[in-house]
Symmetry: C2
């Protein structure tokens, strides 16, 4: 566990020392959705070696971003959860998410959509209450095997994993779904082009796209992605 320091008295350098290791940001993304067990994390991060996950969890605990606790009750298992210090990362991770979302024109081959990635993407896309419709609504969003729901009122937006019992509108995302959030496709055309399939009060789609928005960088040349293919399959949450 050597010193991967940068030797600079600088906030960005300090952040990079803690967060710059491989998989660290994605582990935190998942834990910011909610407490998770070791095997939950492993399932939500396809490809991570167990040894790396174990090492990262120890480092993050040492650095004060997360803590282990023993779940009480029927299943006495270990859960990891973010500390207050870890919570403070939220604005920075959401800014990074939005920046990265500009390159997501289409999934690369084999890319999956996990429950945590869907939730954190929607949280990052949530607009300020001054810049969105004031109507209350509950949306359910489905993409590949991931499901999340968003509860919107005048003050807050909360996004949680899993389905909702009575959503006003359910949106089943197609391959070009992201273009809908980017404003490249008009909501009215979304269903026609296959960007999304709707259930429920489809008139709410307009409100939805004005409530959640991702940036769009027209100058981007995404590396050739072959077929704009199936997002693959999701592992992870017992929702």
């Amino acid at each position: 566990m050597r010193d991967r320091r940068y030797g600079q008295f600088c906030g960005l350098a300090r952040a990079a020392e803690v967060l710059g290791q491989r998989w660290t940001l994605l582990i935190l993304r998942d834990l910011l959705v909610g407490p998770r067990r070791f095997s939950d994390l492993e399932a939500g991060l396809p490809g991570i070696p167990t040894s790396v996950l174990a090492t990262r969890l120890k480092e993050l605990e040492r650095d004060g971003l997360i803590e282990r606790s023993l779940r009480t009750g029927s299943d006495r298992s270990v859960v990891y959860q973010v500390t207050e210090r870890g919570q403070e990362l939220r604005p920075a991770l959401e800014a990074l998410s939005r920046w990265g979302a500009a390159t997501m024109t289409t999934p690369h081959e084999g890319e999956v959509i996990t429950q945590a990635s869907l939730v954190s993407a929607l949280r990052a896309a949530a607009r300020d209450h001054a810049n969105r419709p004031s109507a209350r609504a509950v949306y359910q969003i489905e993409a590949a095997d991931a499901v999340a729901h968003a509860t919107v009122d005048e003050h807050d937006i909360t996004v949680e994993p899993g389905p909702h019992p009575k959503p006003d509108l359910t949106i089943v995302a197609g391959p070009r779904y992201r273009d809908l959030l980017a404003g490249t496709i008009a909501p009215a055309d979304a269903v026609a082009t296959g960007a999304a399939e709707l259930h429920g009060n489809s008139a709410r789609l307009d409100d939805f796209t004005r409530t959640f928005q991702v940036p769009y960088s027209p100058t981007l040349t995404d590396p050739p992605a072959g077929v704009a293919a199936s997002p693959g399959t999701n592992q992870g949450d017992r929702s």
Copy 2:
């Protein structure tokens, strides 16, 4: 140059693929201050291997964050500068800087302060114009061997490297200077405790601390830093 991908259709994962390599964030920090030559970057990033710097610059160019250009005129040399896509990273890097700044209670042994780190730290600390005094002012800030100046008016704050010909107030930072920005030390006590030495209109210090602010995490336990020692020496800008 293998695929250090994460295999997830997720903005944060995409960002981590581009930015998560070692030294990348610090290279971008320096380039966001202004165009730099290879040797400028090398000098401003003590400890970076030239091979890593060359590799990172190629990757960043490939990913569209920076571009090489040949400087015209007397010195025909190569300069690297951020593209518009690179500029879009500013909010995310500033959020990371602020988060990391909370751990900067005292410099670790051997940590240096570079020109670019000082400039980017001040830019990240600049408060919204709704939350700061409206007075115009020019501040010069000196920390270790680094110097920067900030020009504040009602609308904007600009921070640039190097000294200013006629600052209203010059602040020479001592070891506990950051506590001043964090609000842990009252401005009136700053000079007495050695947190800062002032030249010029010292009544402006109050405005300064209300214009630039860094977060403070009281729960942090910084690893033992030995002596709260000399920040070392700065390399870098020909200012």
